[in-house]
Amino acid sequence: MMTTKNGSWKIRYILLLIALPVLALLFSLCVGRYVVSVPDVFRSILSRFNENIEVSKLAYITIWNVRLPRILLAFVVGSALSCAGLLFQSIFRNPLATPDTLGVAGGSSFGAVLSILLGFSLIPLQLVSFGFGCLAVFLTILAAKGKNQSMSTIILSGIIMGSLFSALVSLVKFTADQEQQLPSITYWLMGSLQSATYSSLLIGLIPIAVSIIILFLLRWRLNLLMLSEEESCSSGVNMPRLRMVAILCATVATASSISMCGQVGWVGLIVPHMCRMVFGNDHRHLIPACVSFGGTFLIIVDTLARSISAAELPISILTAIIGAPFFIFLMRRKGGWNL
């Protein structure tokens, strides 16, 4: 579909991928319980660099300290989860694979709730959660390694590891103090971008950025993942190694996202399918598209989550409410699934 696209297609593709998140950013900066007009948004942004521009203190703080870190977090998490979902779908050649197929979400959640139980502050919580997410996937791969290693063994051992860790999460919930810890554990598990700060964002951003850059550089080779084992080995590329690098990058990106804002469902499933539908199956186009579409999607959903009602909605509820009907619409239009 895309190999022979001409120059003008390429320009439109790049413009679209840049325009979408920029427009979503602008929209999200304006909208909320306190509405900021578009000129005020620009004035607040510029006033940081030029002291001559005057703007109300409230608008300045809303934009710089409240909304911007949150929007950036939404973009980073949306991009990371979409790329991870895309990769897992391709690696397992399974349209139902999601970022937590290998149990990463269970591991990260356990790390986080354990930290809440132990009363850790935000940054250590993030690190512990990230560590446990990676540990879960490592255990999954270790469990699946052996004589008859195949893709379905890995998926199966991922399911086992995922439910093991969610049992551990339940155990922590069971022992938690019901007045304070349990509500904050439950709230964390539902996912929220509320706690975004620049420093936590920076810690989470580095592993995500590194993973996505590696995946982007490997974008042509990633296409081999979707061929059958026999076909891809005849290309002469070391497939087990490529697959392992892809799994590592996707895991690091997912664990890092979950450690920042809890579990955000659906993004990693819907956005890659949406991108495949628009751009075909070539990872050269899919990786940038997932970064842009995934980020935009989560910015919009998070804006809705914090503006629809006076109390903020947990983001997973909204992604599911938006995601499920949208998914059904896509599925019916395409007439069934295949990759």
């Binding site: 579909m1 005849s234 002469g236 199956n281």
Partner: protein, 355 residues
């Protein structure tokens, strides 16, 4: 280029030996078929040959080097594999799918460049499927998909192609297209090794054949391997190999007539006495006459007189040779000539003398 299997044996993980003492080779320009009943291990033989499965003993040598010690990228730049085409290639376009065959030549962090795309398009054009380049692999016909996979194996510049049942599940016309393509590639100097379910395809197309018969892997010139006796032994089917005359050639035909019953053991072949025959050859490409001369030279022992005449006006070459030798050997010569793409040839045998 020469891929050689030496004294190899293969055993399953559970220890059961599938075959022992496997010896065969594929050289540039040869077309070699593998025949055997279902479950005899045809695909396994291919996979072990390429190192996708490990031999229990012995090994595959590529130009003298054991492929087990060869880095994957080097091995797969010399041989290419076309597996059975069930997988629909993840809905890539034909061109994308072919470009994936070049991944090894594209840098680790790089994407296909203009010249790579041009080469892929030239390859598609060479197989006459350039018009399909923007179609999705899951929307083209089985024959077109098979041609796409062959194109993908060609862009890696491999000297030896290994194909797993390339013409299965295809209709008459597409079987013809695929087999003609393989014949053409082998006449251009590529070594072709393929599995097939059709003894006729082996007889008509391959210079040499491999037959897997109850754990025994036989290898030799096609007419000496694909015989009524061997077919009966390997497949348990009583079959007749006949000759069907067309305007150009005598075409070998295998007609199965029934299952073999255990008590009906085949009796030994009757003694093969020498016969007289003439062989007439028309070569429709003047340049091909060199090859024909080389083949005739190999059969000097049964040749006693030849006449060759170029017909320059039509760019033809006409040859007539007289033969005196065993029927087996004469058949072998006729076979080697008839697998060439631009040659018509027929044998006429003298009436046998009463003794």
């Amino acid at each position: 280029m020469k891929l050689e299997i030496k004294n190899a044996s293969f055993a399953y993980k559970n220890g059961r030996t599938l075959y022992e003492n496997v010896n065969f080779s594929v050289e540039s320009g040869e077309m070699i078929s593998i025949l055997g009943p279902n479950g005899a291990g045809k695909t396994t033989l291919l996979r072990a040959t390429m190192g996708l499965l490990n031999w229990k003993s012995g090994g595959s040598l590529l130009d003298g080097d054991n492929i087990a010690d060869m880095p994957a990228s080097k091995l797969w730049s010399k041989i290419a594999y076309v597996p059975q085409a069930h997988n629909r290639g993840g809905s890539y376009t034909v061109l994308q799918s072919v470009l994936l065959g070049m991944t090894n030549q594209i840098g680790l962090f790089s994407t296909p460049k203009e010249k790579d795309i041009r080469f892929a398009e030239e390859t598609l054009d060479r197989l006459h499927i350039l018009h399909l380049k923007d179609r999705l692999c899951n929307e083209i016909s089985g024959g077109e998909l098979q041609m796409t996979m062959i194109a993908r194996s060609l862009v890696s510049h491999a000297g030896i192609l290994i194909l797993d049942e390339p013409e299965s599940n295809l209709d008459f016309k597409n079987q013809m297209i695929v087999l003609d393509t393989l014949t053409k590639l082998s006449s251009e100097g590529i070594g072709v090794l393929f599995n097939t379910h059709y003894p006729e395809h082996a007889l008509r197309r391959s210079t040499k054949a491999i037959l897997i018969d109850n754990g025994k892997v036989q290898f030799g010139a096609t007419p000496s391997i694909i015989t009524e006796k061997n077919i009966e032994s390997a497949f348990g089917v009583k079959a007749y190999i006949g000759q069907f005359e067309t305007e150009h050639n005598m075409i070998a035909n295998v007609i199965p007539v029934g299952l073999t019953k255990d008590e009906e053991k085949t009796e030994a072949n009757e003694e093969d006495s020498d016969v007289l025959a003439t062989l007439s050859i028309i070569c429709s490409k003047f340049e091909e006459s060199e090859r024909i001369n080389a083949i005739l030279h190999e059969f000097n022992d049964i040749l006693f007189g030849r006449m060759g005449m170029p017909h320059r006006k039509r760019n033809l070459y006409l040859i007539s040779v007289n033969l005196d030798g065993s029927k087996e050997r004469i058949k072998m010569l006729a076979h080697q000539l008839s697998v060439l793409p631009d040659v018509s040839c027929k044998v006429t045998y003298a009436k046998e003398e009463e003794s």
